[in-house]
């Protein structure tokens, strides 16, 4: 099992826009470099790319939730 952490403090988004599907649905497989969400920091948006590969992603942080740097966003098997 591995964790994907937030690189920055800010607000976490699971999709590129409110009317778009999430980058990853619960249970999806993840490859290194896959975008799993966005962090909004002071009105600028930064992609969160997975540094691990795995299956069955489970999000620990909800869409639009505030996060601190280093917070666990998701786990993968």
């Amino acid at each position: 099992m591995a964790q994907i952490h937030s690189p920055l403090p800010g607000t976490f988004y699971r999709a590129s826009a409110p009317d778009k599907p999430p980058f990853k649905a619960d249970g999806d497989a993840v490859a290194v470099g896959d975008v799993i969400g966005l962090i909004e920091v002071m009105k600028s948006f930064h992609e969160v790319k997975s540094e691990v590969a795995g299956t069955n992603i489970r999000f620990e942080t909800d869409n639009e939730e505030p996060v601190m740097a280093g917070a666990v966003l998701a786990q993968v098997d």
């Binding site: 403090p9 800010g10 607000t11 909004e40 002071m42 009105k43 505030p66």
Partner: protein
């Protein structure tokens, strides 16, 4: 006079408005999100009300929470600051419906100026020069081809319902125009639910010059102009007043055109009429009117001695304009720089965090508008403005010298800030000669940004 004011904002502008209200003897109520419990505006207001979680749309944009806070605390008025709900006509209407005085213009004035096409038409009707283009929406591609006679190329095709740089296409020739026009209509319909388009000539090299106005709904005056040509991604970083670039006769025409527009829309409160100014032709063109107090208002305060926020509060309290045009004069030169929590050497990456130590500049002609204190943690959820350093001196040259002096006194430890940018700009010959335009800074940054690292502390 207003009795008790809710300040529907955060950061330095909430601090600024609370100070102005207290100076007038008006009781104050701050509002704050979970992320702002320890903020300076909460500490210095008479009362503070929690209005929601960190996300702005659940707190500082939450109209129901803000109105409830105002009525629960017995306020008679609401000041929106800038950003958030400041130019939301529905919020102004909702305040009025709740029996609260909205410190700003009417919802209808906000609505007219917020609609780009309506604002352009109002300006034209008031005899304010607008950028050559269509007078309103263009009916179709045949009508659009006729507008090209006035604009030439390149031409901007803009969504009538767009804004903030969205919904704009530029065509460089007729073939490009024929292709872009139907695409722009389809995109505008998809993005804004409104396929309406209008057209404007592209003014390639221009300065950004804006006029501060004050109105009481019946009459209006101007407080001269500001020049804000140093911009990055359409965000102003350095503002000054007066503009060194304007010939005197043009200044008179520019400022009186802004007053005509304010009078024509029955403007109440502080507002800013923004223009592009073309050095070569000495012509100016209306871009838009901002129906709020602006970030850079202190440069105008420094050269005129007028407290613009206090005047807004007096007008909202029902007083007529206290100032006649002949009472308002310019003295000296003022410059403001925006110290943001951003690293200019790394593409202005945001840098929230804790201020471990703080040294604020002072002395003659120096003003530091900020919400910072030592130990304050800058949250990541809102904009990156930390402080506005404003200097005033007899001449522009002396103001730049004073700016460098004040910047060198300023220490904001624990964060990266845009201070190195301003030290470099103050030393640049083009800035010293004011030989700049709105795209100048972006070009300059391509060759200078990597060197904008914090200087070693002595």
């Amino acid at each position: 006079m207003l009795r008790k004011l809710l300040v529907a904002n955060r950061g330095e502008i909430a601090v600024r408005v609370i100070r102005a209200a207290r100076d007038l003897g008006i009781a104050t109520v701050a509002v704050h999100s979970d992320a702002d419990r320890d903020s300076l505006h909460v500490q210095i207001a008479g009362e503070a009300v929690h209005i929601g979680p960190p996300a702005a749309k659940k707190s500082y944009l939450n109209v129901a929470s803000i109105l409830k806070a105002a009525t629960d605390t017995g306020c008679d008025s609401v000041h929106p600051g800038y950003g958030f709900l400041a130019e939301n006509a529905g919020f102004a209407d909702a305040c009025a419906a709740a029996g609260l005085v909205f410190v700003g213009p009417s919802g209808d004035a906000i609505r007219t100026m917020g609609d780009k096409v309506a604002a352009r038409s109002a300006a034209h009707a008031a005899g304010v020069p607008v950028v050559p283009g269509s007078l309103g929406r263009v009916a179709g591609i045949d009508a659009a081809r006729h507008v090209l006679i006035d604009t030439g190329f390149p031409v901007m095709i803009k969504a009538a319902a767009g804004g903030g740089g969205r919904g704009i296409r530029i065509a460089n020739d007729l073939a490009g125009f024929e292709a872009a026009f139907p695409q722009a209509a389809a995109e505008a319909l998809a993005a804004f639910g409104d396929g309406g388009l209008y057209m404007e000539k592209v003014i390639a090299r221009a300065r950004h010059i804006e006029v501060q106005v004050l109105g009481d709904g019946r009459d209006a005056v101007h407080c001269f102009e500001r020049e804000c040509s140093l911009q990055r991604r359409r965000q102003k970083v350095w503002e000054e007043a007066p503009s060194r670039a304007l010939p005197g006769r043009v200044r008179d025409e520019l400022c009186s055109s802004a007053v005509r527009l304010a009078r024509a829309v029955g403007y109440s409160g502080a507002g800013t009429v923004e223009y592009l100014f073309d050095d070569e032709s000495s012509r100016f063109y209306f871009i838009e009117m901002n129906t709020r107090i602006q970030v850079e208002h202190p440069v105008t305060e420094m050269i005129t001695g007028i407290d613009l926020v206090a005047e807004m509060l007096r007008i909202a309290g029902g007083e007529p304009l206290r100032l006649r045009q002949s009472d308002i004069a310019v003295r000296g030169h003022a410059i403001e720089v925006r110290l943001n929590a951003e690293d200019p050497s790394r593409d202005f990456a945001p840098f929230p965090g804790t201020v471990t130590a703080l040294r604020v500049p002072g002395g003659p002609g120096v003003r530091f508008d900020s919400m910072l204190y030592a130990g304050y943690t800058v949250p990541p959820f809102y904009d990156s403005l930390l402080a506005k350093l404003v200097v005033h001196a007899e001449t522009r040259e002396a103001a730049i010298t004073r700016l460098v002096r004040a910047l060198s006194e300023t220490r904001i430890e624990g964060l990266r800030t845009t201070k190195p940018l301003f030290l470099a700009l103050a030393g640049d010959p083009a800035v010293q000669a004011n030989a700049v335009h709105t795209r100048w800074l972006e070009g300059w940054l391509e060759t200078h940004a990597a060197r904008l690292v914090p200087e070693p502390e002595p």
